[in-house]
């Protein structure tokens, strides 16, 4: 299956390790991964902060870039929810306003006025696009039909089901089903898991006091689990909680779901632990696996995904590159 990776502007700029982990993981599961170079941002920050004009322009660009792929996979529940929930609204508004809101407004309008063959409208593009855009865990569980992705991560992990994954995309237990199948991983429940961490995009700086109060409670709950790693399907929330954990020297690192799922017994994946907590991290990310655990892993299990990657050792390629956290 040919899959387009929508990395998201935040991951592209700040958490490239997550993107490399997604690439490693999807290839291991037999997908052909493409990264459309023209992609930039889904427009969520602009729309949610009250700038729908700019946001719609970015959304139209997104729709153009990703038209024609079988599936678009993104390691961000929030950005996937943006496309699914808000793009249809933006398209309706744009249609009601009766003019295309793309960057080439004048050109497009001129073209249409001149009676040339009309390109698909934004609304049509959105209608075709929305069913194809998946958050990573949705894609793995619903489209590929796997929950055991052959990962190994022998650590104690707690999972924060971010708001847009939980109430926007309704991911349900998909992420935890994936985590439960990871060898050696001990998943501990997070108290008050469903409560917002207080990030909320620009909310974090527009209402810093409330945001910090919410994050303090979230960080407190994370610490109460005794976990070593906090996992989520969104790096923006992890950046927020991880930023607070780091500031408090909590000694808990944050990792995107993709980074854990990409990890195998042969070593840490492409992704070095991302996020602010990495700054205070001193312990190595991975303990060496005990021999029996390694043997279990080597045996081809029923759930081992089919495809070219199956049976062959995971590609070491991306793992060779920059562990951003350690270079400092």
């Amino acid at each position: 299956m040919r899959v387009a990776l929508f990395i998201t502007c935040v991951n592209d700029t700040l958490f490239p390790g997550t993107g490399r982990a997604v690439v490693t993981l999807l290839r291991r599961l037999g997908c052909e991964v493409d990264f459309p170079r023209a992609q930039t941002c889904c427009g969520q920050m602009h729309v949610n902060t009250g700038y729908p004009r700019e946001g719609t322009r970015l959304a139209r660009h997104f729709a153009d870039v990703f038209a024609g792929y079988d599936a678009v996979v993104t390691p961000s529940g929030s950005c996937a929810a943006m496309v699914r929930e808000q793009y249809p609204r933006l398209a309706r508004t744009a249609a009601a306003a009766g003019r295309p809101a793309s960057s080439g407004t004048a050109r497009d309008a001129g073209g249409r006025a001149a009676g040339r063959t009309a390109p698909p409208s934004f609304a049509e593009e959105v209608a075709a696009l929305v069913p194809k855009v998946h958050d990573l865990s949705e894609f793995l569980v619903d489209v590929l039909g796997v929950t055991d992705v052959g990962a190994c991560f022998p650590h104690r992990v707690t999972y924060h089901p971010t708001c847009h994954s939980l109430r926007g995309l309704r991911l349900g237990d998909r992420p935890t089903r994936l985590l439960e199948q990871v060898r050696g991983l001990e998943l501990v429940p997070l108290p008050g898991a469903e409560e917002c961490c207080g990030f909320g995009g620009t909310f974090a700086v527009k209402n810093p006091a409330v945001s910090a109060a919410m994050c303090a409670d979230k960080a407190h709950n994370v610490m109460a689990t005794g976990a070593e790693v906090l996992c989520a399907a969104d790096n923006s929330c992890l950046m927020h909680i991880g930023g607070a954990l780091g500031r408090q020297r909590a000694g808990i690192r944050v990792m995107h779901l993709a980074e854990i799922l990409a990890a195998t017994e042969s070593g840490e994946t492409a992704a070095a632990p991302a996020g602010p907590a990495a700054r205070t991290r001193t312990a190595p990310a991975t303990r060496p696996l005990s021999a029996p655990a390694a043997r279990t892993l080597a045996a081809p299990g029923g759930a081992t995904p089919a495809g070219p990657a199956a049976g062959t050792p995971p590609e070491p390629g991306p793992a060779a590159h920059g562990r951003t956290g350690e270079e400092r």
Partner: protein
């Protein structure tokens, strides 16, 4: 430092103060979490809650779409049953009508059933200005009134007070208003309730005029419905000779049978009860009694004209969204600067006050706006409604064919609203976590309306520039890549504490390490990780 973000509006300042109040935080945490848990249990046991919720939403939407027809039907039914209907375009007109009705009875005091509409229009203050004392009889409203305080929750207005504080208020203030609190009053809930009961009982038996709101009005029969928990409502609705009910025009339901849906939705969502203790219904007036219904617009027809924002009019004031909101839980109701706090307040207040599009003038209304009387103006919207010119599809309003009271007022002689800055900040008083939408019994998509109102709100200049710059960079992948490379090169010079608006982040959180190489540059350099 965090309060210096350029153009930082009012809610964040109020919220920052509230967040630091440990007593308030404790009271709110305890109360909201208790009600939240109770609601979840009561909703969880109803099979087909989602269908019930959908029914609630559809009945409300249908009624709002045909409000013109149903309001006239209601007026007729109320008149037939011996009541009188008055139309009030705005707060000032409603207050004048009520004061006039009370004066006509020759009385100088009224007892009140808890009512959001009368708080919205500042009725107690307006009556006081004309020498009429309004006595609140709901326990929590009594606490607020005695304490010279403001309500901070729709359902439990004294949620910010704990029982020790309530004891103090009773001991200090009860005597000023009537029967004093007993000398040996403790802070046991039972003792506090008994003190209030004795204090209020005298009032019920001696007062001849009552003022109420209503949870629902039935167009078919002209019946009004009040749901309450303490029995004070039942006293006010039956004992006095004159009953004046002030009700927002959106409280309408077409038929008696529609109540079936809402009598299930409301108690479970609000107090977390299967059924509330007292449900009173009345139709017109009995012999020897008088009943007046004041139908209140006060910005509602203008809200109806907004295709996205109008869903806020479905609200049945259950306050489930307040109890589940992580922002409300940490700041309480006062920070919202309105009788409608929390998520629903964040979308309702700016729309009702007419400040949602950055307009400088309110529609004449809510008390905090300190707006003067529009001075004898015709109740434009009310007449329009009563003549059946109300928009069947509310687009008529937006096209300007509807003389909505607000537009006329805001064009004219009103001073700039004292709440414009606060109101503009309310749509941002949310992390858009979606918990409010999930619990709303009439499925108001509050996050959608928040985002919609944010688009209409005035934005601080510095923010506008930053957003435009970000938009410019994100418009072209080449620009984004250049910006990433630049930040990658500068990454070692980024301080742990950032200056200016960014300090709002680094005051309490670390910033992530900026990687040496962006994902797209890695992809290019390694040909997608294959080299």
């Amino acid at each position: 430092m965090s309060a210096t973000f350029l153009g930082m509006p009012a809610f964040p300042r109020n919220a920052a103060r509230a967040v630091g109040d440990s007593q308030l935080r404790f009271n709110l945490r305890k109360a909201t979490r208790t009600i939240r848990g109770r609601r979840a249990a009561m909703v969880g046991e109803v099979p087909g809650w989602e269908e019930l919720r959908a029914a609630g939403r559809q009945i409300k939407d249908h009624t709002l779409r045909h409000l013109d027809r149903y309001l006239l039907q209601l007026e007729e039914a109320v008149a037939r049953a011996g009541g009188r209907v008055h139309w009030a375009a705005d707060a000032d007109e409603a207050n004048r009508i009520v004061a006039g009705l009370v004066e006509a009875t020759g009385e100088t005091s009224v007892v009140k059933v808890k009512s959001m509409a009368t708080q919205e229009i500042g009725l107690n203050e307006a009556l006081a200005a004309r020498g009429i004392t309004a006595y609140e009889t709901d326990l929590a409203e009594l606490i607020v009134q005695l304490g010279d305080d403001l309500p901070s929750h729709i359902l439990v207005p004294a949620i910010h007070r704990n029982r020790a504080e309530i004891r103090e208020i009773f001991r200090e203030k009860m005597a000023e208003w009537g029967r004093p609190a007993p000398e040996d009053l403790t802070d046991e809930p039972r003792a506090l309730a008994e003190a209030a009961r004795l204090h209020l009982r005298e009032r019920f038996l001696s007062t001849k005029v009552a003022v109420s709101g209503a949870n629902f009005m039935i167009a078919e029969t002209g019946t009004l419905v009040v749901l309450e928990s303490e029995g004070n409502g039942r006293m006010c609705l039956t004992l006095p000779e004159t009953l004046i009910s002030v009700v927002g025009i959106e409280k309408l339901l077409p038929t008696w049978q529609d109540l079936e849906v809402f009598l299930q939705l409301l108690p479970r969502s609000s107090t977390g009860e299967r059924m509330n203790p007292y449900t009173s219904t009345w139709t017109g007036a009995s012999e020897g009694q008088e009943f007046h219904l004041v139908l209140l617009d006060n910005g509602r027809t203008r809200v109806l004209a907004d295709e996205v924002g109008r869903q806020a009019l479905r609200c049945i004031r259950c306050s489930a969204c307040l109890n589940v909101c992580p922002v409300y839980e940490r700041v309480g109701g006062h920070a919202y600067g309105s009788v409608y706090p929390g998520p629903i307040g964040a979308i309702l207040t700016p729309q009702l006050r007419g400040t949602d599009s950055g307009a400088s003038a309110p529609p004449g209304g809510m008390p905090a706006s300190a707006a003067p009387a529009p001075g004898g103006r015709m109740p434009a919207s009310a007449t329009a409604v009563s003549r059946g010119r109300m928009p069947a599809s509310a687009t008529a309003v937006s096209r300007g064919r509807m003389p909505a009271s607000a537009t006329a007022v805001s064009r004219g002689r009103m001073p700039a609203s004292a709440t414009a800055e606060l109101d503009a900040s309310l749509p941002y008083a949310s992390s858009l976590c979606g918990a409010c939408y999930e619990v709303c019994p009439v499925a108001i998509d509050i996050p959608e309306v928040l985002v919609h109102l944010r688009a209409k709100a005035p934005h601080p200049r510095a923010e506008r520039l930053a957003m435009r710059a970000a938009g410019w960079v994100l418009d072209r992948p080449v620009r984004l890549a250049r910006a990433q490379r630049l930040s990658g090169r500068l990454r070692r010079f980024v301080p742990r504490r950032l200056p200016g608006p960014a300090a709002a982040w680094t005051d309490t959180r670390d910033i992530p390490d900026i990687p040496a190489e962006s994902f797209r540059d890695w992809w290019d350099r390694t040909d997608g990780g294959t080299r």
